[in-house]
């Protein structure tokens, strides 16, 4: 009788392990990987983790790439790491908020930001100012502004969408 009990326990234990292991394979995300989704603090983004790796390990990874690509990545990392501390911290906080979004939402926001990049410089300045101003507002005032006639008059529908999607998803709540 004892053997009858132990065998199903062992099999069930193995099954529980297998089910837990199978649960580790998450569907692909356009940007944030599984570890980013579980970050509890803004210190854990991939750039931070990259910076904490040993120089040998970093060089080992870069050496696998075509030289020009490796050079570009080094340059981009250098520019990021040399940002003024307050700017870097604000960017990291906002990236953390962005990375917590579901992958589909991230892709929407990403697309809006790409669309922003395609706008003429003058419009980019105006929209950027609007986003910054909205970020400074409490949520109720922000919502009021986004649904106001003045907002709709000042910005075209695509521009409104850019402001809305970026602000509502990344700006944070006050």
């Amino acid at each position: 009788m004892r053997c009858d009990f132990i065998r199903p326990v062992a099999l069930s234990f193995g099954l529980a392990i297998a089910v837990a292991a199978a649960g580790q394979t998450a569907p692909p995300a356009p940007a944030a990987d599984e570890s980013a989704a579980t970050q509890s603090q803004p210190t854990g983004n991939p750039i931070d983790r990259w910076n904490r790796m040993s120089p040998e390990e970093r060089e080992r990874q870069l050496a696998k790439l075509p030289p020009e690509r490796a050079r570009l990545i080094r340059e981009r990392l250098r520019q990021y790491n040399q940002l003024p501390p307050e700017e870097k911290e604000t960017l990291r906080e906002n990236y953390h908020r962005f990375s917590q979004l579901p992958p589909e939402k991230q892709e929407v926001v990403r697309q809006r930001m790409r669309e922003f990049r395609e706008l003429p410089q003058a419009r980019r300045l105006v929209i950027r100012h609007e986003i910054e101003a909205l970020r400074a507002l409490p949520e109720s005032e922000r919502r009021a502004r986004l649904s106001s006639e003045a907002f709709r008059t000042q910005f075209s529908p695509p521009e409104q969408q850019i402001v809305r999607d970026v602000t509502e998803n990344v700006a944070g709540k006050r």
Binding site: T25, A133, A136
Partner: protein, 162 residues
């Protein structure tokens, strides 16, 4: 050079029109074309075909292409997860469910122990690595965020500013 048409090798003329021949062969063929109307005509016709095909532009890809794809993938994964998870639990008599419950408890206990390494003993630190493609992706996102002003602290709330 042997005439491609006569030697039943007109592919050479197609390759020539596509710029696929090495320089030496192309030069030899060009000398031949100067004196062979049949080959010259085929090469000219093929060049016209390339030019026509070159002009065939394609429509833009829908902006929500990726969103739709990832939604389908997530639905598929969610469905297969449920299938995998629910299968062992379908209809299970108590006699079979009991050992499973015991196993689940054992697993839970193991998880709790691992979460509190100080009670058992030191846990070796994990060597943190991140892949370059993750780094690149993050750099792309950070640059996008920076462009829309997400590196700047918002000034303290002043709705009159707008």
């Amino acid at each position: 050079m042997t005439c491609p048409m006569e030697s039943r090798n007109p592919e050479m003329l197609v390759a020539y029109s596509a710029g696929e021949l090495d320089p030496e062969t192309a030069s030899a063929l060009e000398r031949h074309l100067a004196g062979c109307p049949a080959c010259r005509l085929l090469a000219a016709d093929q060049a016209a075909v390339w030019k026509a095909l070159d002009a065939w532009e394609t429509p833009r890809i829908a902006l929500d292409f990726d969103q739709r794809l990832f939604r389908r993938i997530r639905e598929e994964v969610r469905f297969s997860w449920w299938e995998r998870i629910s299968r062992p639990f379908r209809p299970m008599p108590f006699r079979q469910a009991l050992p499973l419950t015991v196993s689940a408890c054992l697993l839970l206990m193991a998880g709790l122990v691992l979460q509190h390494p100080g009670r058992i003993g030191p846990v070796e630190p994990r060597h943190e690595t991140v892949r370059l493609d993750q780094v690149e992706r993050t750099l792309d996102d950070l640059e996008l965020l920076r462009q829309v002003g997400m590196a700047n602290q918002p000034e303290s709330g002043n709705s009159n500013a707008m």
